[in-house]
């Protein structure tokens, strides 16, 4: 088991290298440099551009820039500057003097001048939104799936199946548009872009939209899983020995039916944290996804690359966690060496 975990964790290294290399090569083949032609900004003249490139190390050969980013490099004074392994994602090209990791992980200063708690950082905002979406998906999805299975082939079942199918296949930004039009433009219950994200109520709409796909998937998985459990012999045994129906359902059915549902929660959270950039952009949410989209339009290479790598690691770790959770909760599954 431990060798398996170590081997799978080591497999992350080539994955990160490949993702980093592809991103790096593509980013550096772009015709537009990070500080050229931008109508809204002052143009950078030739000598300034040269000194900026020298400052950021962009005048060095491509392979050396890559090594400097992924591992580290010696600067002009012979001092070793550590790269990715030390959590150093390099300086942002657009927000001058600010390293990428500060943009993503450092919370802004509060009113009293001290930095706010860590969960006010861009990553913290995205994580909180993802967690909230996951909670909504579980709290609604599992009961819906359970009830649908218990009332199989009734209108309750058909309705929840229809909604779940729609929720899985229709992308969340389309669902977001419908909900925004209904609740923000039509009923005017909420505003699309709230003034502050400090009140809980403004989180409900983006979190619901973000979690809707996971909710639908959870409900469908729970339904299928319940239907399988319903036919098991031990359910008949439980009923035969005269247990109350409530006990049969909660202890014998739901507990066993939850196994496949639990295994999807890890990747679901990673999907929610990483897959939120459109929702974040729509609601002008101050998270990591929106920073990513802004970096794309501003050609902030180092920020794009840093965020891509973080996303790739999150997805890889989430996929890895599924395998482990499987083994932990279901002793029938053995790891193949």
């Amino acid at each position: 088991m431990i060798t398996y975990i170590i081997r799978r964790l080591l497999w992350l290294i080539p994955v990160i290298l490949v993702v980093g290399a592809v991103t790096f090569i593509l980013m550096h083949n772009t015709p537009g440099g990070p500080w050229d032609t931008d109508a809204e900004r002052r143009q950078v003249d030739e000598s300034t551009r040269k000194s900026l490139e020298a400052f950021y190390g962009l005048d060095k050969p491509l392979w050396r820039q890559f090594v400097a980013y992924m591992i580290g490099d010696f600067n002009n004074k012979g001092k070793f500057i550590c790269g990715l392994p030390c959590g150093n994602f390099g300086p942002s090209y657009r927000q001058r003097g600010v390293p990428v990791q500060s943009i993503l992980f450092r919370p802004p200063d509060g009113d009293d001048g001290n930095p706010k708690p860590w969960y006010y950082s861009r990553f913290g905002y995205s994580l909180r939104l993802g967690l909230m979406a996951l909670v909504i998906a579980i709290v609604v999805g599992i009961p819906v799936g359970t009830i649908a299975a218990l009332k199989q082939n009734t209108w309750v079942d058909y309705l929840s199946l229809l909604v779940a199918t729609a929720g899985i296949s229709v992308p969340n930004f389309v669902i977001a548009i419908f909900l925004i039009i209904i609740f923000a433009s039509g009923l005017k219950w909420v505003s699309v872009v709230p003034r502050t994200w400090d009140t809980l109520s403004v989180w409900v709409l983006p979190a619901t939209v973000l979690g809707f796909g996971t909710l639908a998937f959870t409900a469908r998985l729970m339904r299928t899983s319940m239907l399988e459990v319903l036919r098991m012999d031990y359910i008949r045994t439980a009923r035969a020995k005269g247990l109350a129906e409530r006990v049969v359902v909660v202890i014998h059915m739901i507990k066993n039916a939850l196994i496949p549902v639990i295994t999807i929660l890890g990747p679901a959270l990673a999907g929610l944290v990483t897959g939120s950039f459109i929702i974040e952009t729509m609601f002008a949410f101050p998270g990591m996804g929106r920073a990513y989209v802004q970096a794309i339009s501003q050609r902030d290479y180092s920020l794009i690359m840093g965020t891509t790598l973080i996303y790739a690691v999150l997805v890889a770790v989430a996929n890895l966690s599924v395998d482990f959770i499987y083994v932990l909760i279901d002793p029938r599954i053995r790891l193949e060496e």
Partner: protein, 329 residues
């Protein structure tokens, strides 16, 4: 030393006609036709395809024509906006911020979605089937190569890959080619063929053990013929079902990229085939979401309808082609 083996069709009495049995394909088609949701899906898809083909005839206005004084018109069901603009029956879905007809633009948007759904799929199926079959049937180095390659491609979150490709190559010659559609097709194909390849490989691995393949080999049928005549027909069902579920994914990807401003490059000339995409329309409507929500409504409904239609069709195809899978995930 090669032994030439004569293969002859043995004289089997034709029970088929006497018993009036149907071929498996006929049975599958009948099962599909009985499934109301799938038929609905198929009809919707055909309607959207017609819409895409005949967009130029159906569109009431030039999709790029800017009519001054007709900006921000509400759709026909809104009599008057807060700004005092009355709706004009000429512009059924209203006009956008520049005064362009929203309905015509939505009709032309169908073209991009349909093309993105079908052309990359064709490439994906072609590459994926060939590679998957080779890897599964020949095994060895081919198989190892495929599995390592898929590991790498699976590790890269695909939407991020598309975004990075589009960002970095958009302004190069390859990104300008066909208004950026070529680059979009290519990047979609690069990522998606592995799914089919793995699926076909798995299917071939299990078919390989079956008696009829063994029999074909025993009577000396050559490998290419086994692949095309014995393996391919038996994997076709799985491929078709996979494709039906994959197409909406491609359409959604295009819409997301369009929404991020990374999709089709809008042409200046209104005689171009591809004027705008639904994702692009969402991007345009986004800035005016409070004042003109109807600009977002039509493309959003179209995306939802197309995606649902393909899902229903895919569900029906799965049930029809593989009755054992009925009712499962």
């Amino acid at each position: 030393m090669t032994a030439q083996v004569e293969t002859q069709t043995p004289n089997i009495p034709n029970f088929g006609e006497a018993l009036k049995t149907k071929t498996p394909n006929q049975e599958a088609f009948e099962r599909l036709a009985r499934n109301k949701a799938s038929v609905f899906g198929l009809v919707v898809i055909i309607l959207f395809m017609l819409m895409a083909i005949f967009a130029r005839v159906l569109a009431p206005h030039d999709p790029l024509e800017i009519t001054s004084g007709q900006k921000f018109l509400p759709p026909a069901w809104v009599a008057q906006t807060a700004g005092g603009k009355a709706s004009n029956p000429d512009y059924l879905l209203g006009t956008d911020t520049l005064g362009r007809d929203a309905l015509s633009r939505v009709l032309f948007g169908a073209r991009v979605s349909m093309v993105v759904g079908f052309i990359p799929t064709f490439i994906i199926v072609l590459i994926g089937t060939v590679v998957g079959m080779m890897a599964g049937y020949l095994g060895g180095t081919w198989d190892n190569l495929l599995m390592r390659l898929t590991d790498v491609i699976y590790a890269f979150p695909d939407l991020l890959f598309f975004i990075i490709i589009m960002v970095s190559l958009r302004d190069s010659w390859i990104g300008q080619f066909m208004n950026g559609l070529f680059l979009l097709f290519a990047s979609l194909a690069i990522v998606n063929w592995v799914g089919i390849a793995r699926l076909v490989r798995g299917q071939v691995l299990s078919l390989k053990q079956k008696e009829f393949i063994e029999a074909a080999r025993a009577i000396g049928v050559k490998t290419p013929r086994i692949m095309t005549h014995h393996l391919l027909p038996n994997t076709l069902g799985v491929i078709i079902v996979y494709v039906a579920f994959r197409i909406p994914g491609l359409i959604i990807t295009e819409a997301i990229l369009g929404y991020l401003g990374l999709g089709l490059r809008p042409p200046a000339d209104s005689s171009a085939t591809f004027i705008t995409s639904w994702g692009g329309l969402l991007l345009e409507g986004q800035s005016a979401i409070n004042a003109q929500p109807w600009l977002l409504l039509a493309p959003a409904i179209c995306i939802a309808l197309v995606v649902l239609a393909f899902t229903f069709l895919g569900d029906g195809l799965r049930d029809a082609l593989d009755p054992r899978m009925r009712g499962s995930q």
